[in-house]
C-alpha cells in the first residue's frame, strides 16, 4: 500500500505518501483523489513526511490533481517535503504553484 488516507476533524482528506510517488503508483493517488472528489470531498492535504522520492510523473499527477480540485471549488495543500523534495519543487518552480507547509499540522491549520 503506497498511500494512507484519513479524514480529519475539519473534513480534510489527508493522504500520506509512503515511500515514493512515481510512475508506478501515481494512478493510485489519482484514483483516491478523484473518488473522494466524486463523493463531495473538497479539502485535500498530501503529506510527504514519509516520502523519499517523487519523479516527474509524480509531479505531473500533483499538477493535474491541483487543477481538478481547483475546478471543483476545492483546495489542495502539500506538507512534509524533505530537503531533496523541496529542491525538486524549487527547480521545477512548482513551489510557486502549490501551497506548501513544513508540517501536516501547519497545513491542516491553514484550511
Amino acid at each position: 500500500m503506497s498511500f494512507s488516507v484519513r479524514r480529519d476533524a475539519k473534513g480534510v482528506m489527508v493522504i500520506g505518501v509512503d515511500g515514493q510517488l512515481i510512475v508506478g503508483n501515481r494512478h493510485e493517488l489519482k484514483s483516491q483523489v478523484t473518488e473522494a472528489l466524486e463523493r463531495g470531498e473538497r479539502k485535500f492535504l498530501v503529506d510527504f513526511t514519509k516520502t523519499g522520492y517523487i519523479d516527474s510523473s509524480g509531479l505531473g499527477v500533483l499538477v493535474s490533481l491541483s487543477k481538478r480540485i481547483r475546478e471543483s471549488g476545492g483546495e489542495l495543500r502539500l506538507a512534509g517535503l524533505n530537503d531533496d523534495l523541496k529542491t525538486l519543487f524549487e527547480l521545477t518552480k512548482l513551489d510557486t504553484l502549490f501551497a506548501v507547509s513544513d508540517t501536516a499540522e501547519e497545513a491542516l491549520a491553514a484550511f
Binding site: 519523479d55 505531473g60 493535474s64
Partner: protein
C-alpha cells in the same frame, strides 16, 4: 511479472586502465516497473564506489530514473521486446551513466522549458529538465536515442 535483469560487471585488472576501476552494464526490457530495480542496483554500486550519499540518493537516482523512463516510454514506446541499455563507468573523478534506447531519437534542443510561465502548469515534460538540472554533464548522440550523464564525485 518481473523480468530478471541481465547484469554484467566488469572489473579491469588495474584501476589506472583508462581511469576505469570498473563498469556495469545492463539490458533492461522496456517495462516501467523495472526502473526502480535498475536505479537501486546502480545506486548501490555508486555508494560502494564512494559517491557522496546525497549525490546518489537525489541526483543520481532522480536523473537515472527519468532517463530510463523517457527511454522506455518515448524511445521504445513501452515495447518490452525493445531494450534500454545502461552502462555505468566508474571513473576516478566522476561516474558516467550511459542510457540508450532502440527508438528513432529526438532533438533535445526542441524540448520546451517546463518552468516557462506558459508551461509551468503542464502535466508533463519535466523529465529532461530534471536530468539537466541534476547532473554535471549531459551529452546526446547525434541520433538522439542515447545520452551520457556525468556526475562528479564531489
Amino acid at each position: 511479472m518481473t523480468v530478471p535483469l541481465r547484469l554484467s560487471v566488469r572489473h579491469t585488472s588495474s584501476a589506472d586502465e583508462a581511469g576505469l576501476p570498473f563498469q556495469i552494464a545492463l539490458a533492461v526490457p522496456s517495462d516501467l516497473g523495472l526502473v526502480e530495480q535498475v536505479v537501486d542496483l546502480v545506486a548501490r554500486h555508486s555508494l560502494a564506489a564512494g559517491l557522496p550519499p546525497r549525490r546518489v540518493r537525489f541526483h543520481l537516482r532522480t536523473a537515472l530514473a527519468e532517463a530510463l523512463a523517457n527511454a522506455m516510454r518515448y524511445g521504445n514506446r513501452l515495447d518490452q521486446a525493445r531494450k534500454v541499455s545502461v552502462r555505468v563507468e566508474f571513473a576516478v573523478e566522476a561516474i558516467h551513466l550511459h542510457v540508450a534506447d532502440e527508438g528513432d531519437g529526438f532533438d533535445p534542443a526542441r524540448v520546451p522549458d517546463p518552468t516557462a510561465p506558459d508551461r509551468i502548469g503542464a502535466d508533463g515534460g519535466r523529465g529532461l529538465f530534471l536530468i539537466r538540472s541534476l547532473v554535471d554533464g549531459l551529452e546526446f548522440n547525434q541520433k538522439g536515442n542515447a545520452l551520457c550523464m556525468t556526475l562528479r564525485r564531489t
